[in-house]
Symmetry: C2
């Protein structure tokens, strides 16, 4: 499949929470091998990484993270947060990131899904956040805007973020997973849609892609639950980051899409054992959703960096007194913006 | 399939724009025959209706409409607007309405879609307009709320309106249809989703269902384009009604769903010949969308009737001077509320 952009405008970022990536990499080989990969090893992981030959990649480990970031910040890059170091050091326009327990999925005709091609299509065709199109993505082949869709809104806006979905093990929280231990997602919903402006959603980090030039600094590893572990259902870092990036996209007039592509999530972990840990995340959302729903950023904030600073200040002011976790998160967000400015750079230079 | 409600809580309303309903009714027989049908004959249609035996139905014609409505109102029940007379005289809680050029569709496994059962499922399970669930309708079998979805929002709200979709001839406007004369919609998107609060959409009247008790009077036949004809792409009455019902649902805390079920739309008409007529509708949306996006109804408006009156007054004030069509529409909306109060009744009495 030929993409509308050059292969060297894309980095695939993998956070390695498992040391043996052999089967993961081999399964993704037909899709990933054309692209440059950034693999960031979870600093908590002791074993050496096992990675098969034949990929164009850079690997970053604890020493590299410490060298670049230093130890004076409030940001912790362990667990699922290690991938954000890859977002930071990339110099490409587009980032695609998939959890290392996911394999390529098949579509409803049984063909392997090229998740990279679908994410790039999502990011390089316009998003339509200001009016809902009932036939979903009007830029999909065979689709269009329906009768009544205002013509002035049909050119759409830049899509900044593409959120893919999951077959087999769905991305439920620990209580839901524990309640329905046998439930697996097999429904193939053949659609991409723009999530409307001012609508919040739980953005999962399992299978995402974004335009690093326009929203890179808004994807941030800043919220950490006390009992956070190495299972997705124990984490909220991506949900927090997702609320930030959605309000920032709304403010900057950028779009967020969700739907295709699917990835296949392998089963692992014991949801019931995680239940106690997850409770903190569930409770957190009750505080956080009204905060983000009422948050309005000042007009002067015109870049993702500006916006993150504004969100961080509002978090400190409105949520800081409710739980020390929020004050820590706000500080980490301010540190992240500093780090992005000094290390992340603001312009992409493909091929660098 | 057993529905969660009684068959006699449902009316199927068909606007007859064609005199020979034989093939239409026979195609729908396995789905419609259990239910009571209301058939409203387009007052412009001269020929006698042809309807096969074996249905439980009431037919309303021009004389019935004149008898009930009189001739002193600004409401015109001709063309696609005739079906609204059926909404008015029904006494059931749920209304399902499908255009008479649509046949039952098949799902992605080749099985006949029971559009009634799907609409009723949509209407009798909660809607979730305040936060977007990335796995679509959490009340579908095999689905749930994803990680990060606030627990306090999981009970949802009453679903007032269910908008189905179309296979084969999609519901495009005349310019799009004329530009892509060969395009047919064959994508089966196996999903239902709640359209988020404060998000506007073009609601098509081709294949819809609603809870008449809570939003009945908000589905209204009040906007009529000067050159309106007997093809969907020439009409905007349903799009206008849809904008009204969506802002009213948002105000009353009710939900609107879109997606399944599909119906199969037969080809007919010449889009290029309609192009000149459609232009008025296209231009209209440019005025109308900003109006509805900024419209806020007063707290005192607590019923659909109240809300329609408020919308009508705002239309008169904000749009009245832009085009005489809007002043006419506002008057028709006020007449409609009066008519609903005197004829439509406000409570359902199943079995009546």
């Amino acid at each position: 499949m030929s993409l509308p952009i050059k292969d060297d405008e894309i980095d695939i970022v993998i956070g390695a929470l498992h040391s043996d990536l052999t089967s993961f990499m081999n399964a993704w080989r037909p899709i990933f091998s054309r692209f440059h990969l950034i693999i960031v090893k979870d600093p908590d992981l002791k074993e050496e990484l096992k990675i098969p030959e034949g990929f164009n990649l850079d690997i970053y480990k604890k020493l590299d993270i410490d060298r670049v970031v230093g130890t004076s910040t409030s940001i912790i890059f362990s667990g699922y947060s290690c991938r954000y170091f890859g977002y930071l050091v990339s110099r490409k326009k587009y980032i695609i990131s998939v959890d290392d327990d996911c394999l390529p999925a098949k579509d409803n005709k049984g063909f392997l899904v090229d998740a990279v091609a679908q994410h790039i299509t999502n990011l390089t065709t316009p998003a339509t956040p200001f009016f809902f199109n009932t036939l979903y993505d009007p830029f999909t082949e065979g689709a269009d805007f329906v009768r009544g869709y205002p013509f002035s809104l049909r050119s759409g806006v830049t899509c900044a973020l593409s959120c893919g979905l999951w077959h087999n093990l769905a991305d439920y929280d620990a209580p839901t997973q524990a309640l329905k231990p046998e439930e697996r997602n097999s429904r193939y919903v053949d659609a991409v849609l723009t999530v409307p402006a001012r609508t919040l959603m739980p953005i999962s980090g399992i299978n995402i892609a974004f335009n690093r030039d326009v929203v890179g600094p808004a994807l941030l590893p800043c919220l950490r639950l006390a009992g956070e572990g190495k299972f997705r259902w124990e984490t909220m870092e991506d949900i927090w980051s997702g609320m930030c990036v959605k309000v920032i996209c709304d403010h900057l007039g950028l779009g967020v899409k969700t739907g295709l592509p699917y990835v296949w999530r392998n089963d692992r972990g014991d949801a019931i054992a995680s239940l106690r840990k997850e409770w903190e995340g569930v409770k957190m959302m009750e505080e956080v959703v009204p905060f983000f729903q009422s948050l309005r950023l000042p007009q002067e904030a015109t870049t993702a960096e500006d916006c993150v600073v504004e969100v961080a200040n509002a978090v400190k002011e409105k949520l800081g007194s409710k739980d020390p976790m929020f004050a820590r998160t706000a500080n980490a967000m301010l540190d992240w913006v500093k780090l992005w400015k000094s290390v992340g750079g603001s312009s992409s230079s493909p091929g660098a």
